[in-house]
Amino acid sequence: MKSKDNSKLMMTLMKGRTFIVLVVLLIFFSIANNKFLQVTTLTMLAKHVALYGILAIGMTFVIITGGIDLSVGSVVGLAGMIAGGMIQEGVTLQFAGVTLYFSVPMIVIFSIILGGLVGLVNGFIITKLGVAPFITTLGTMYICRGFANLRSGGATFSSIAGEEGLGNTGFKSIGGSIGIIPVGAVIFLILAVIGAVLLKKTAFGWHVLAVGGNERSARLSGIKADKVKIIVYIISGVMAAIVGLINTAQLAAAHPASGDSWEMNAIAAAVLGGTSMAGGSGTIVGTIVGAFVIGVINDGMTMCGVSEFWQKVIRGFVIIAAVVIDQMQRNMEAKMALQSRNENK
């Protein structure tokens, strides 16, 4: 009986391990550097985590269906460049000889639709043309990065404040703060709640889990698996576009290389949060904790003066360790299920 209680405690610890790691990291870095727990540091942390976290929410949906979306980092850059360009240069219609300037809400909507379209293209190629998700999104990753550079010939759009006369001011406020809380973090929180509810409380969420768990059974149950997959890539694309907007507003400039390799942070956050790369399981709450772990490791190590090269090495170890522990947990769960089944007999 005693050993059973022990293993139950062990399971609880295992399940909350990412959260425990997060707390340990916070304590560690606050001891290592007494500036870590200051308001300025934490708001900076919140800004960073919001960016990875929003990407990771979309990525979690994609990975649960058994897919992957490598294009999100490039969509961050593309959406930023499109928005920045629309503010700084407007849209010139050559045949009419006029340049149109749009209001900020219009620009935001346009960028988000663009992100959704990239997702739609990804989903269409994957489901209807049967190309593997890895290859499809690797392709769109390059395409989007290319277009982001083409928009300005590789240059940065640095005047995104807008002009009163053109009626396109206010974009920077997306990167601002409400009190001490960054707007990006508020958006992250809202999207996280929507994502969690969508996955847990709606039929769509069930269908995402079903498609990832057993696609054949899902189809036999009358679920339109292709439609579900296309929608998750659209979600992922939209999230990436939102991150592109926030990032551009925070930096007060749109740079075509923005978001480079951020897809890896998003994948890492999802995996750290317990999303299985094989599909079928994962939670938004887990992903958010995962995003915080990534953020704390990055910012904490930077503040402690760890070189960026060592940071990469450590991040790699953390990700592999997380998956190894995840496997251990699964094996343990299977063993315990078998045990309790035998005892019930």
Partner: protein
Amino acid sequence: MFDDPNVVLHCEKIDKIYPGTKALDGVSFDVLKGKVNVLIGENGAGKSTLMKMIAGIEHPSAGTMYMDGKEIVLKDTNAAREHGIGIIHQELSLFPNLNIYQNIYMGHEQKKGFFLNDSAHSEGAKKVLQRLEHEMDPNTMVGDLRVGQQQMIEIGRNLLQNNLRILIMDEPTSSLSTAEVQVLFKIMRELTAAGISIVYISHRLEEIMEIGDHVTILRDGKYVADADVKDIQLSWIVKNMVGTDKSYRRIPRTIDLKKQPEILRVEHLSLPKRGGGFLVNDVSFDLKKGEILGIYGLLGAGRSEVFECLMGMHPESTGKIFLEGKEIKAGSIAEQIERGFAIVPEDRQAMGLVQSLDIEHNLSLSAIKDYRRGGFFVDEKKQAEKVEEEIKDIHIKVADKSLPILSLSGGNQQKVVIGKCILTGPKILLLDEPSRGIDIGAKTEVFDIIHKYAEEGLSIIVVSSELKEIMAIADRIMVLSNGLKTGELLGEEITEDNLVLASYAGHHTDNGKKESQK
């Protein structure tokens, strides 16, 4: 067009053509209202294919379906559902990563506005489980359940349907215990009493006599016979299932097997099943040099598992294996191949061939380490010679050995798999359903090859679920049923009746005892 008040659904001359084979050939079939309509036939007779048409999973190549006299076209499972047709699949189609109520309600969720109504799901699932006499916490993950319990969930999913009119059950009892089967039968009687029609597919003949109302027999994709269960006996079913038209010539053996030395002896072989019971239950047999031993049994009788144990794929199995008088421990596949075992697996495409390689490299795959020069490089000349030899030896019809493997017909692909094993120079060759998916001409050729190598002194064990074939090819037949050895037939004893009766003797043995006491 078609109108009979006792018939809910009528299939008229259904054809189904898959590339290379005709799975159904002009089959007409009636589903009688409020009855248990039994569909039987050997493996590959077309039962499951016909049911998939009715459930909207597959579409007929030709033919029409009528429901209540009106023509219907079922474009997918949702369309079938709208017509009140539900199906319980042969292979479980559940989501192990989700809990019981999610599985039960998947695809027809209860909603409160935009959100899911989980309390309704939970309540509904509880009621269904109660009706199935399997009260479980609906929050339990389905992956943690026993197979029998999972089967109950699968059945439960269909009981939710309010407009249910036809319920198709494709071998629902294959993983149930005796008690669970009785619960299922009780529910089936409730359903038919409520006017719901059941289409029941089963290999267990005694079950059919117990629960069935009307029997339809298919053979090789064609309709053979139908009758009310009260008018027939088991022997009628067996006779019609097996048929009399198809038979293979038996080639006489020149070796006197009585004088041959024993090469393999297996004693008390057992393989435990996950979640209790045995896949192979205390099976003992022997094999002589140059002998062809047949293993006959229904799907899930434990035939392939015996092979897997011999090949060292189940180190957890118990019992003793003696090779040429010496006891061996079957620990790994590589070890067993080294000792002279070779296997031609049941699933040729998935386990027998490497589709991306050409014919030559598929043939030499297992023996390639014997063609090395300097311990590292492949001696391509030697490889080519050996492959050429083998191609001639087993009559593979091929223009060029560097053609892709998939350019060959199914029969020739199978010969390549057999050839691959022969090239390793085995002592014992295990053939798992060697004639599956190949045409009748190629079957005879495969049998000739088996016979040829046996005459040359190779010991062979053949697993087959086709009676006529195993009777034509084997010198001696061991029958497995539900993991138990239920018969060993030699010479005159090898008859269709004996084989079929033995092949279901292992099921519900406690039931059988009760019957005989009466």
